[in-house]
């Protein structure tokens, strides 16, 4: 926007630079399928109409990069059950609209359950301290970007009436699954995640033949990443490049990494659309199990969850979110897109979050 363009602290003349990048990408284009794996990248790409600037053969696909979108039904149903059993469930705003098997947290709230929205776990802890008479569960979702703040809060300690139900995911194992399964030539790696993890986790994929570019979240960051990847594909090289040097270091944020490993153990967890991926999630270590709402309240929700699982098994959603999350289909391929599935009444999770591929297409690209 006008002000940002004038005073951008990182670039003298972002519009001119971007025009040059677009021209360079368009010169002598080689067809390429490039996947990003970050909801915020999808938002930037759609918001700035970046796909409309690229030559016909260069496709930008959206991978499983939205933490809301990959949270499985089972975790959402559990959070809803905890709320309906009389606990106060606190989570991030865009989790509230995601439909579980039968309803969303918003629906549960309309029926009288105490469901609240915060911007960080610290706000949730504060609410719990102010209301010692109530029991609070923080529904903790997210990737490497939000996990360190959760770890830091655990290390600081929770009041006795506060625990967390975790649905935390690590991105590299999901990329490993994707490269074995789908037809992609190169990846744009998520800048926020790489701030924490560094660029090292992507080296194995580069050695396996996939060019990687770590990119930031302005339109010029993304265009620079695409330029780096198309250059590599033309030359036939594959290594990890950093298009986000102002924020990402090769080794990442070592302090945050240590906090994560001090608080959590790596575990096999379910991703919506991808199934259970080995080593792709984090759960609280044994010594923090008093903080684990999944253990603390198991008797409260487990029997009801079994019943909901039976209902879920019989229900067949027509939703192709799984194929969209893995870049095998676009929202336009879904029979429900824009008809029965809209942002105001989402059927699948990709339509819920502002970072979801379907939401983004509905909002910015729909004719």
């Amino acid at each position: 926007m006008i002000i940002m363009a004038r005073t951008d602290p990182f670039l003298e003349n972002p519009v001119e630079i971007q025009k040059k990048l677009v021209a360079a990408i368009a010169a002598d284009p080689k067809p390429a399928r490039i996947m990003h794996i970050c909801g915020t990248h999808e938002r930037t790409i759609a918001k700035y109409g970046i796909r409309s600037l690229l030559p016909a053969g260069i496709e930008v696909l959206s991978g499983p990069g939205c933490p809301v979108c990959v949270t499985p039904d089972d975790d959402i149903d559990t959070a809803i059950l905890l709320a309906k059993k009389g606990l106060t469930v606190i989570t991030f705003g865009d989790m509230l609209r995601v439909p579980g098997t039968e309803e969303s947290l918003f629906d549960a709230r309309a029926e009288g359950a105490d469901v609240r929205m915060v911007y960080s776990i610290d706000d949730a802890v504060k609410i719990a301290k102010e209301h010692p008479e109530k029991e609070f569960v923080f529904f903790s979702i997210g990737f490497e970007t939000t996990i360190p703040t959760t770890a830091a809060a655990v290390l600081r300690g929770f009041p006795p009436n506060f625990s967390i139900y975790t649905s935390l995911k690590l991105t590299p194992p999901a990329i490993a699954l994707l490269v074995s399964d789908i037809n992609v030539d190169a990846f744009i790696a998520p800048g926020h995640v790489a701030v924490i993890t560094g660029t090292v986790p992507y080296n194995d994929f580069a050695r396996a033949g996939y060019p990687f570019a770590v990119a930031g979240f302005e339109s010029y960051d993304i265009l620079l990443g695409i330029k780096m990847l198309t250059d590599q594909l033309k030359k036939g090289t594959s290594f990890v490049e950093n298009a986000y040097v102002r924020a990402v270091k090769a080794e990442g944020n070592v302090i945050a990494q240590k906090m994560m490993s001090d608080v959590f153990d790596v575990s096999d967890v379910e991703w919506r659309g991808l199934g259970i991926i080995p080593g792709s999630g984090l759960v609280l270590k044994e010594k923090y199990k008093e903080y684990d709402a999944g253990i603390k309240y198991k008797e409260l929700y487990a029997p009801a969850l079994e019943k909901i699982r039976e209902i879920r098994a019989k229900k067949k959603k027509n939703c192709i979110c799984a194929a969209i999350l893995t870049g095998k289909a676009t929202p336009a391929d879904c029979p429900m897109f824009g008809k029965t599935c809209k942002p105001a009444n989402p059927v699948g999770p990709c339509m819920v979050s502002d970072e979801g591929m379907c939401h983004s297409w509905y909002k910015y690209c729909r004719d």
Binding site: I2, M4, S219, E355
Partner: protein, 353 residues
């Protein structure tokens, strides 16, 4: 003593306590309460509005315009205003963008027991200040109290009545018109979000809440070469932001609006905090802005008139009306890429990371 400074159920019971509340807190703080022979201070069953006979005879198609708007705001006091100011501005701005001169307003307040009387007095004072700015009286009102358990904050309804020679509609855009926005967008919504959620950025950002009639009045008289009104359509982009208002104007007028991203007046602090929270400034509320469709020959002149008023100082031509894709709003980026601007789903929700 503390107890006496709070609203109790008896303040709404029609007896002495209610009389003193109306007299001491409401009437005392209002400067202008009459539009005819019977005004608020008469405490009669209704109020009257005198008619301007010469306006009626000069304008045979003159019509009255009426609007009503109920307000709940969290927090009730925010940087740049409060619920009283926003309630008054919301109603009189609805008249202004219809091209109507506001004649009078009514006020209906529903107050929970336990509400601070000092706060109520501040709210009435800011209603009065906003009304005085455009010379409009508050001529009739109603006050009810309700159990504190049933309501957690004050609700204010303002109905406003005005008069116009011919209404300006939101469906009047024609291909070729220029689209003007009267100043920086998204200030109100971001100021409230910042205050409500206790964010530590945007510390000096204020809501844009303002009564716009004096800014709009002069542009209504601008005529095209063939004697028609230059302003073809107007709307105030409140909840739902500029995105919602532009879509409504495009759909009702059956035209396409192209908006140029680099022309949108957005404060740097608003832009940066929206980026951080994953929000789109186009979808954030305003309470002191107008979106104006103007015949292309008169756009620069109208822009100049707007800029002469303090509320229109940062006005800008942000786009134009074109013949393609009726009902759509297209945003063109500085790079020349395009995307649709959609109607927001509900309240903007900040993202996870």
């Amino acid at each position: 003593m503390a107890k006496e400074n709070r609203i109790s159920m008896e303040h709404g019971a029609g007896g002495q306590l209610m009389q003193s509340l109306i007299g001491e807190i409401i009437l005392k703080n209002l400067t202008n309460t009459k539009a005819g022979t019977v005004g608020l201070e008469s405490l009669d069953d209704g109020a009257t509005i005198a008619l301007d006979r010469s306006f009626l005879s000069d304008n045979p198609n003159a019509e009255l315009v009426m609007t009503t708007d109920s307000h709940v705001v969290k927090p009730i006091f925010f940087p740049g205003g409060d619920i009283g100011k926003v309630a008054v501005c919301g109603a009189v701005n609805d008249l202004a963008v219809m091209g109507a001169k506001p004649l009078a307003v009514s006020s209906g307040m529903i107050i929970p027991e336990g509400f601070s009387i000092t706060d109520l007095e501040k709210i009435v004072q800011s209603m009065d200040a906003a009304l005085n700015e455009i010379g409009v009286p508050l001529i009739t009102g109603d006050t009810k109290t309700i159990e504190g358990t049933a309501l957690d904050s004050i609700i204010i309804n303002i109905a406003a009545i005005g008069i116009c020679d011919a209404p300006v509609r939101d469906c009047g855009l024609r291909a070729g018109d220029k689209i003007i926005v009267s100043g920086f967008i998204a200030d109100h919504g971001m100021a409230l979000l910042t205050k409500r959620e206790g964010f530590e950025f945007n510390s000096d950002l204020e809501s844009d809440t303002a009564p716009l009639w004096k800014m709009i009045e002069p542009i209504l008289d601008v005529k095209t070469a063939d004697g028609k009104r230059a302003v073809t359509a107007m709307k105030d982009p409140t909840r739902g932001g500029v995105a919602d208002a532009l879509n409504e104007m495009a759909q009702k007028s059956k035209v396409c609006i192209r908006v140029y991203e680099e022309k949108l007046p957005i404060r740097e602090t608003v832009h940066v905090s929206c980026e951080m929270l994953g929000l789109d400034p186009l979808e954030i509320a305003n309470e002191g802005k107008a979106i104006i469709g103007v015949h292309h020959d008169c756009a620069e002149y109208v822009l100049g008139l707007l800029k002469q008023h303090s509320y229109g100082r940062d006005a800008a031509v942000i786009g134009e009306v074109v013949d393609e894709k009726p009902g759509k709003v297209i945003l063109v980026s500085a790079l020349g890429s395009t995307r649709y601007v959609d109607v927001p789903t509900g309240d903007p929700i900040p993202r996870v990371c």
